[in-house]
Symmetry: C2
Subunit: 417 residues, 2 copies
């Protein structure tokens, strides 16, 4: 590639594609420009000249003058086909599809090696916060203790509206949809599949662990009822969906669950579509990053930076490696608030130590420790019966010490910063 | 450089040098290793084999087998001599001396260009937070609105002890010295010269503005008395020394001053030796980063990352450029709490709008707006007479709107996140 201006071929012109287009236009950057945009819908009015538009993916994939291919379409299966074909053609590729990357991670890494091609995907995690490159470069040789964060701007937006403006879940969801933060089918966001895919990606770059999405439990916010919100309010808690990766006793554990967070918890004040990530590193201390996590321009910015990194010959190091000892999920004990309608599920969870209370309406909840293993097994039934799991604490069977000291019921008073 | 392991020549084996040594040893990194450490004091017992040690700077500068030169000595004049000589020999160089970089910035950039050499200095600002590379790479093409932060771990540590443990300034300073955070002459830290040097460095990478340290006002914490602390406590404020860079009306303004911060301000909870930096960017939103800002290992980590970046052929882009219109310092209006003993200085400040109160002991304080220009002119007298300046707000003459909405007396309730 000796040309001074690289040509970008862009797939998709939705939120991310238009964000990239705007950011490049406004940046004054002269290293690359968009040469072709392939879209699906011929009928839609577009803000760009029709010369730029195409409707056949081979207009980009077969064009030898295109140096960098940016995949920004909604359909993750088709996204994988495009990215795979591009890597096989030894191209430089950018994607922001977390689902596609998480579901095909090993194959995507393999394809890059085999064809000496490069794939970057900063826009797939935490929007504007450059967390993948920080992990892959800056923390490359540091054995991290944990990564925890708010990775889903949509569910955080909904929770902010519920807690700060007393909206009902349905109203808050509607607002998120009206503002373009939530899709018409919000399952990925509100049931926490989206932050799970992101967790899989950070597990690789932060800990060198290759996880499959189905190995990581996820539970979202769509089962909450007025009692859960009331419980949070009475204790001065907010609810935040936190993705957690934690290295302990030689293993790396991962889960995505709603958490009660108190005022001494840094995630307490992260509101609306903002994301936050906390990296606990032995030398650097607890690093905490916040920034916009959703929206056209923040994601466009992240994709633009991947384009610039490709122009500069950057690629991910994938230097960390570790064996994920996820088999010992009996070692991790999660303290949870569990509201249930079916005694059988509660019994299946096999609570270790508990405190139980009756709620007025005949619903019941319980707070106590369960193993990650038992929680994983019961989670489908919990979701389908409208029951609720909210994390309140964490320890291991071996250590018997809280692993995060900022949990609301944590006995230790210590805060991180 | 075709060798697979690069050789590092290290100047100095104090806090930073030992931190680098430890981080490399523990990292398992195989890209570079320390070949020679040149130190001043022959008598001191060192934790490394005497084979590694040398006492003449030419043992490193003249050794053609040394690929990367790390400068980590205390004396900023001698540091510049070493770095200059190394760049003239076309070497790859790392430094963490903020004073040296800030005082010789233009010449250091010129030397790199002229000799096709590279200098990196991530360890010079905010310890473990990789803020320079974020600005130089990730935010390279984004027109930033402002950068604000706690850049000095020592003064922040002292303020934490004063506010959280009711220590007197002298006791808190002594603790900081005992813990190795403050030097025996703490002037650079407590009078905020240190964060000023860092501000100069970030002005270049964040805004493309080349400032001289003497152009940026700095005021520290060593003049505070019990009345100032009481005033803060009564209003539920803490005191934090904030460095500020703000782009407004086509100019970039810079200053380092103590601030009253209320509970709605993100800097409120940054305690002890931690640093924090807030970057307000149009696409990314308000990004906020925290991490350890002082200490051997955090700085060692930053230097280690510079070494790795040099191994990977990285250099700073210095791509932003802007003319610093610092001549119009009458346009920036700082709202300050000013406690004074000499009416003349107060009159020299030429307060625009004020509210005045008498303090019990006959001291006097006043809160009101002054121009950055008048404050700069009076600052030497303010410092020498034991008077105190604490920022409480900011606006421009033209806009008449608060530029930061998280100031304690700000009329707007909006917080950033």
């Amino acid at each position: 590639m000796s040309k001074s201006i690289k040509n970008i071929g862009l797939f998709g012109f939705g939120q991310v594609g238009q964000g990239l287009y705007t950011v490049i236009q406004q940046s004054g950057y002269t290293g690359a420009s968009i040469r072709k945009i392939v879209v699906k819908n011929k009928e839609k009015t577009r803000i760009v000249s029709s010369d730029l538009l195409g409707y056949d993916k081979n207009e980009i994939l077969d064009d030898q003058d295109i140096d960098i291919i940016v995949e920004a379409i909604d359909d993750s299966k088709e996204a994988f086909n495009i990215v795979k074909a591009a890597l096989e053609k030894k191209r430089l590729v950018v994607t922001s599809s977390k689902k596609m990357v998480a579901e095909n991670f090993s194959e995507l890494i393999e394809l890059q090696k085999k064809h000496n091609a490069t794939l970057l995907y900063e826009g797939s995690v935490c929007g504007s916060i450059p967390v993948i490159q920080l992990l892959d470069r800056y923390f490359r040789h540091e054995q991290l203790k944990s990564i925890q964060g708010i990775f889903n701007g949509t569910s955080n937006f909904i929770l902010s509206r519920i807690f700060n403006e007393n909206l009902h879940y349905e109203e808050a969801l509607k607002q998120a949809q009206d503002l373009g933060f939530a899709e018409s089918d919000p399952t990925n966001d509100v049931q926490a599949y989206d932050p799970k895919f992101k967790t899989v990606i950070l597990a690789k770059h932060g800990f060198g662990v290759t996880l499959k999405p189905e190995e990581v439990i996820n539970f979202g916010i769509d089962n909450f009822n007025a009692e859960d919100i009331r419980f949070a309010r009475e204790h001065d808690f907010k609810l935040k969906v936190l993705a957690t990766l934690i290295a302990e006793d030689g293993a790396v554990y991962a889960y995505v669950l709603p958490h009660f967070v108190g005022k001494n918890n840094k995630f307490y004040e992260i509101e609306n579509e903002f994301n936050a990530v906390q990296i606990d590193a032995p030398y650097a201390g607890v690093q905490f990053y916040t920034g916009r996590g959703a929206g056209s321009l923040p994601t466009g910015l992240a994709v633009f930076n991947d384009v610039k990194d490709l122009v500069n010959g950057q690629h991910y190091a994938y230097e960390k490696s570790a064996s994920a000892d996820l088999t010992d999920e009996t070692n991790l004990l999660l303290e949870i608030y569990f509201r249930y309608t079916d005694e059988k599920i509660k019994n299946g969870l096999n609570f270790i130590s508990t405190s139980e209370t009756d709620l007025p309406e005949g619903n019941q909840f319980i707070i106590g420790y369960v193993t990650l293993k038992n929680l994983k097994e019961q989670l489908p039934q919990i979701q389908s019966t409208g029951s609720v799991v909210i994390a309140t604490g964490l320890r291991t069977l071996k250590s018997n010490q809280p692993l995060f000291t900022n949990h609301p019921f944590s006995t230790e008073e210590k805060t991180y910063v």
